[in-house]
Amino acid sequence: MNAVLRYVPLLIVAAAWEAASRLGLVSSLALPPLSDVIASWIDLLRDGDLLTNAGPSLYRLAAGLALAILVGALLGLGMAWWKPVNVVLAPVVEIFYPLPKSALIPVTAIWLGFGDGSKILLIFLGCMIPVTIAAFNGARGCDRMLLWSARSMGASRLRVLWDVVLPGAMPELLNGIRTAIALSFILLVSSELIVAQRGFGYLIGSLGANGSYEAMYAVVFTVAFLGFAVDRLYQMLVQRVLIWRL
Amino acid sequence: MSAPAQILVDRVHHMYRPPRGREVLALDQVSLSVASREFVALLGPSGCGKSTLLYLIGGFLPVESGTISVDGKRVQGPGPDRGIVFQHFALFPWKTVRGNILYGLERQGMPKEEREQRALDFIKLVGLAGFEDSYPSQLSGGMKQRAAIARTLAFDPSILLMDEPFGALDAQTRGLMQGELLRIWQRTPKTVIFVTHDVQEAVYLAERVAVMSARPGRIKTIIDTRFDKNDPDIFKNPAFVGKVDEIWNLVRDEAMKAQATRAE
C-alpha cells in the first residue's frame, strides 16, 4: 500500500496536466491533453508505427550493451588481474573516462552512416568504459585474505579468479552495468534524434516535424518510461543475484 | 544531602522508538538529584540508558513522563546552562579550533575582543596553545576531545554533561585526560554528570557514582566515592581499590544481563 501511496504525486501531476490542457490554461497545441496523448499512443501501437521503430531501437540497445558488458567486464578483470594488461590499457581508460560519450555521435555516424551499425558501435564504445572501470575496481577491491585463503586451499590462479574475484567484484560490476544501461538509453535516443532513419528517436523527430504532437508526446513518454522500467527491473534482478550481500 | 538539588530528575520514564522495529523501554522510573558543583557519574553496561538520561537532562530529547528540573525550572530544550561534551567530539570540521570555541561565544552575543581573548584563554587551559588555527581533521583524538571540552567550557555553563567523553581515546590518552579533567574541575568547579561504563574512571573522577541496571534502566544504587583525588598513588590506595571492586560486582551482574538480552 505504501508503495502505491508513494506514486500518488505522479497522478496529481497527470491530473494537473489534463486539467491545464483541457481548460486552456496552457496552449493545448504545445501541451495536448494527456488523454489525447494516450489515445495517440494506442493508435501508434495499432498502426504498427511504434513497433516498427521499437524494433531497431531495442535491437541496437541490446546489441551495443551486450558487447559493452562482455568486453568491458573482461577488460576490467584482465586489467585488475594481469599487470601488463593494466599498464597498456589504464591510460586509455583514463583518457576516455572523462570524454563525454555523446561526442562520439558524429564520428560513428561518419564511419557507419545512419543505420544500426553506428548506434551499436556508439553504445558499445560509450558503455564499455563504465563497465570496465567498475569491473576493475570491483576486482581490485577484493579482500586479499579471501584470495590467500582460496590459494591455500589448493585453488589455481585461474580458479581463484573465477571463484573468488568474480563474485567479489559483482556488486561493483553490477552497479557499473546499471550506469551503462542508463547511458545506453541516452546515447540511443540522442543519436536517433540526430542521425537516424528508424527508431524511437527518429520517430519522435518525424512526428514533431509533422505537427503530430500528441503522437510525439506518446513516443517521448514511451522511451522515458522504458528507461525507467529497465532500470527498476535491473535493480530487482540485482537484488536477487546479490542476495548474499543483504 | 544538605545542599539543595540543582538538578532534579523525578520518576522519568522513557520509551525508545527506533525508525524500524518495536519500541523499547529505555528508562524506568528513574529519579536522581544532583547538588550544585557536584561531580556525579552515571555508570552502567551498554544500552542501560545512561546516555539517554543525559540527553533528557540536556533537553535534546523530550521528557514524556516524569519531570526534570534544573535550578527549579522544568527543562524545555537545550541551552547554554547545560553544556554537553560528546564521545565523538562533535567539533565543526569546517572551523578551526579557535572557530569552534568562538561559535558558542558568538551565539551569546559576546563582544569581539572579549570573545577572542576568552577563546585563547580556554585553548591554553586545555593545553592546545599553538593549535588554535588547526582544523579538527589535523588533530589527534585526545586533542580533539580537549578542543571539544574547551568549546563547552568557554560559554561557561553551570552544568557539564559528559557522554563517555574519553571512550574514543586509547587507554594512555584516556588516563591523561582523566587527570586533566579533574584538574580543570577543581579550578573552575561546575556541576558535572559524567556517563561512563568504566568503573575505575567513575570512582576516580566522581564524588558519587549512580549505578544503573541493564535495560530498562533504573538507578540501582548510589555510592559515595569521595577520595583525595590528588593523591598520586590513589590507584593503589586499598580503600579506592576496594570501592572499585564493590562497584564492579554490582555492575557485573547487570553487564551479563545486558549481554544476554543482546544475544536474543
Binding site: A90, P91, A103, V223, A224 | F92, Y103, G104, Q138
Partner: protein, 275 residues
C-alpha cells in the same frame, strides 16, 4: 611520509601539491603515448585517412579554427549555455533538496518525480522543450537544467540527511536558533557531499549542451561537429572530439580545485576522482 593530518596546514598543502603534480605528470605521459599510437595507426594505413585522420591533420584543423576565431566563438557559446544551465540547476537543485529534506510535504510530492525521472533518458524530452520554447538558447539551457538538476537534488538530500545529530545538538546547546543552525551548521556540514553532486552535474551540463547543439545545429562545439559530419569532414569531427575533451577536462579540473579550496578542512586528501 608523515601523515598529512599532523602537519601544519601550510606544509600539508605543499605536499599535496607535489603529489598532484606527480599525478599530472603521469597523465601527460598517457596522453602523449595515446597521441603517438594514434599517429602510428593513421600513418600505417590500416585505416583510411577518412576513418582516422592523422593527429597532425586534426591539430591543423583546430589551429585553423582558432586562428579564424571559430574555435573561441563556438567554445564560448557552448560554455555559456552549459554554465548558465549548471548555475540554475545548482541553485535550484540545492534549494529543492533543502526543502525536501526539511518539509515532509515537499518531500512526499517530489520524491517519486525524482526517483522516476533519474533513470529516464531525459534527452528524449528535448523535442518537447523545443516545442515549448523554440530553437534558441532558452530551450538548450532548459534541457541542461532538466538533466543537471537531478544529481544536485539527490546529493543535497543525502548530504543533509547525513549531518550528524551531535553537530546539531552541539549547536543548539550553544544557543543557536533553527535558522542559524540551517545556515551555519547544516549547510557547511553537508557541503562536501553537495559539492560532489555539483561535480557530477558540471560535465553533464557540458555534454547536454553539446547534444542539444548537435540536434539543432548552428553555433557551438556540438553544432560545429554535426556540420562537419554532414559535410563528411572527418578532421572536423575529430577536432570537435578533442576540443570537447579538453573543455570537459578543464571544467572538471577547475571544479576540483574549487572543491579543494573550499573544503580545505576535509580529512580526505582530496584526489580528483579520475581526472
Amino acid at each position: 611520509m608523515e601523515a598529512l593530518e599532523h602537519l601544519p596546514v601550510q606544509e600539508a598543502m605543499s605536499l599535496r601539491a607535489l603529489r598532484a603534480s606527480m599525478r599530472f605528470g603521469t597523465r601527460v605521459a598517457s596522453v602523449v603515448a595515446l597521441v603517438l599510437v594514434w599517429q602510428a595507426i593513421s600513418d600505417s594505413g590500416i585505416v583510411t585517412a577518412f576513418q582516422l585522420p592523422s593527429f597532425t591533420r586534426v591539430l591543423a584543423r583546430i589551429w585553423d579554427d582558432a586562428v579564424a576565431g571559430d574555435l573561441w566563438v563556438n567554445t564560448a557559446v557552448t560554455l555559456y549555455r552549459a554554465l548558465i544551465g549548471f548555475a540554475i540547476a545548482s541553485v535550484g537543485g540545492i534549494a529543492l533538496g533543502m526543502a525536501m529534506s526539511r518539509l515532509k510535504l515537499v518531500h512526499w510530492f517530489f520524491d517519486p518525480l525524482i526517483s522516476v525521472g533519474f533513470p529516464m533518458p531525459k534527452i528524449a524530452f528535448l523535442p518537447v522543450i523545443i516545442l515549448w520554447l523554440g530553437v534558441y538558447d532558452t530551450s538548450k539551457i532548459t534541457m541542461v537544467v532538466f538533466d543537471a538538476v537531478f544529481p544536485v537534488i539527490a546529493a543535497t538530500i543525502i548530504a543533509i540527511d547525513g549531518v550528524e545529530r551531535e553537530l546539531l545538538w552541539s549547536a543548539r546547546n550553544m544557543g543557536a536558533n533553527e535558522r542559524e543552525i540551517l545556515w551555519q551548521v547544516v549547510l557547511p556540514a553537508a557541503s562536501p557531499q553537495i559539492m560532489t553532486g555539483l561535480q557530477v552535474a558540471l560535465p553533464l551540463s557540458l555534454i547536454v549542451a553539446v547534444v542539444t547543439e548537435m540536434l539543432m545545429g548552428g553555433y557551438g562545439l556540438g553544432g560545429a561537429m554535426i556540420t562537419a559530419s554532414r559535410f563528411a569532414n572527418s578532421p572536423g569531427v575529430f577536432a570537435g572530439i578533442v576540443e570537447i575533451a579538453i573543455v570537459g577536462y578543464a571544467l572538471v579540473k577547475i571544479m576540483s580545485l574549487i572543491r579543494h579550496r573550499l573544503l580545505i578542512w576535509h580529512p580526505e586528501a582530496h584526489e580528483p576522482s579520475t581526472v
